[in-house]
């Protein structure tokens, strides 16, 4: 349970931890678009080096990153294999029914594998070195431009922080409800389709009622403390840019420039 409260965050104090969460989030999001720029062996090598540099800069154990990749390793191999067998073009080495191994397929399978792994690694760097609360603040900051389109960003920020705050609480509550129902004979992992579908309601309904009550109580508490809508309020938790953010900025610009120079046009 305590695992869920801190999420995947692992405390540390290497360089990556000092970078502003907004910068980290932006780079993580843009990384996926930047990886599109890679289209030949040199660019893939460059992006791999940059990604591994970020991984090593966290100074965390390799195991942490392996745990990030592990749940998806089957999927990664499977998709790479599909690329290998179904892509045609270039030299054909082997063919049987609808399966072909071609030079084009081989190269693409390798690229898919690298892409998959790098995207997972860089996302792991993000979530492991930043506290969930900081990530939420960064997301709120990123959503701000949507104000131009009259998107209620303040309300969304409120919903984000409430959701973030209640995930651990509701998780504990869910486990408690499940145990309470189990102690009276409920079985959540057995029986046919309909029986299992029915077994969800004894968890969901109490959880739902609890949520309704919490919403009412919390809103009363907030209103009695003077909450009158999200506008016209100050911020207590403020994010500050620092000199470390220049490093991440240079890291990113250098990566994009190198990719633009060395990719096939």
């Amino acid at each position: 349970m305590s695992k869920i409260i801190v999420g995947r965050y692992i405390p540390g104090n290497s360089l990556v931890y000092k970078i502003d969460p907004r910068g980290k989030l932006l780079i993580t999001i843009l990384f996926i678009f930047v990886i599109f720029l890679a289209n030949n062996p040199i660019t893939y090598a460059i992006i791999t080096v940059f990604c591994l540099a970020a991984v090593f800069a966290t100074r965390l154990k390799v195991r942490v990153f392996w745990d990030g990749v592990k749940p998806l390793i089957g999927l990664i191999f499977f998709t790479s294999l599909l690329q290998l067998f179904f892509m045609t073009g270039g030299k054909t080495y082997w063919q049987w029914w609808i399966f072909t191994i071609s030079s084009y397929g081989l190269v693409n399978a390798a690229y898919t594998f690298i892409r998959f792994t790098l995207i997972i690694l860089i996302s792991t760097v993000m979530t492991v070195t930043t506290m969930p609360l900081e990530i939420a603040d960064a997301m709120e900051w990123l959503l701000k431009p949507l104000k131009i389109f009259k998107v209620p960003v303040d309300k969304i920020a409120l919903v984000i922080s409430i959701a973030l705050r209640f995930v651990p609480t509701l998780f504990d509550e869910t486990l408690k409800i499940m145990n309470a129902q189990r102690s009276r004979g409920a079985d959540f992992n057995d029986g046919g389709l309909v029986k299992r579908a029915k077994a969800i309601t004894p968890i969901l309904v109490p959880l739902f009622i609890h949520s309704l009550e919490t919403a009412i109580d919390l809103s009363t508490a907030m209103e009695s403390r003077g909450y009158r809508g999200s506008s016209g309020r100050t911020k207590y938790r403020v994010l500050n840019w620092s000199k470390y953010d220049l490093i991440s900025l240079f890291y990113f610009i250098a990566l994009v420039l190198l990719l633009l120079i060395f990719r096939n046009h």
Binding site: I4, G7, R8, I29, P71, T79, L82, Q83, M87, N108, Y111, T112, R115, F116, I119, I120, S123, T124, T127, V128, P132, I135, A136, M139, I156, L158, V159, I160, I162, A163, L164, R165, F166, V167, L170, F171, T174, N189, L193, V194, R196, A197, K198, A199, I200, T201, L204, V205, F208, I209, S211, L212, T214, A215, I216, L218, S219, M222, E223, Y227
Partner: protein
Amino acid sequence: MSVKKILRTNLQQMIFLGIVVAMKIILGQFSIGPITVKVGLGFIGSVLLGYFFGPVWGTIGGGISDLVSSAIFGNQGGFFIGFTLTAMAGPLIYALFLYDKPVKIWRIIASTILVTLIVNIGMNTLWLHIMYNLDFKAALIQRLPKETIVPWIQMVVIYFVLQAVSRVKVKK
């Protein structure tokens, strides 16, 4: 709707939205069924969002659920805006069929099929195609077996859940 009556102020609605989003995230961490066909429960959260908050706030709630769950648990397969759109599209479709409407079996069937076709098969495959440069057909083949079995299970679950949840409304 009586939940709306219970939640009188706008602030209550927003907080309830936050908590239902949290509920969706937690349900997404659970799954039922044997290992061969694991069905994640996150779709229940999408249904609840659509059913209670309608197309606008249900859709926003879906987006927030993706953001918050990636903040807490990390996004398996990386941060990508496409999957946020996916998380928004599900509640939107459920809202169009279920919001402010009586629980009918055809509504559940139609909305689930649409979500499966548009969201799970269409959009998610497209994102994988874009993100990992997968061959679209190959990505589709990989997803099809699961997506032909899971919707039927989802329909049964949605039926019981909505039945139960609409009972909650009447009692309060």
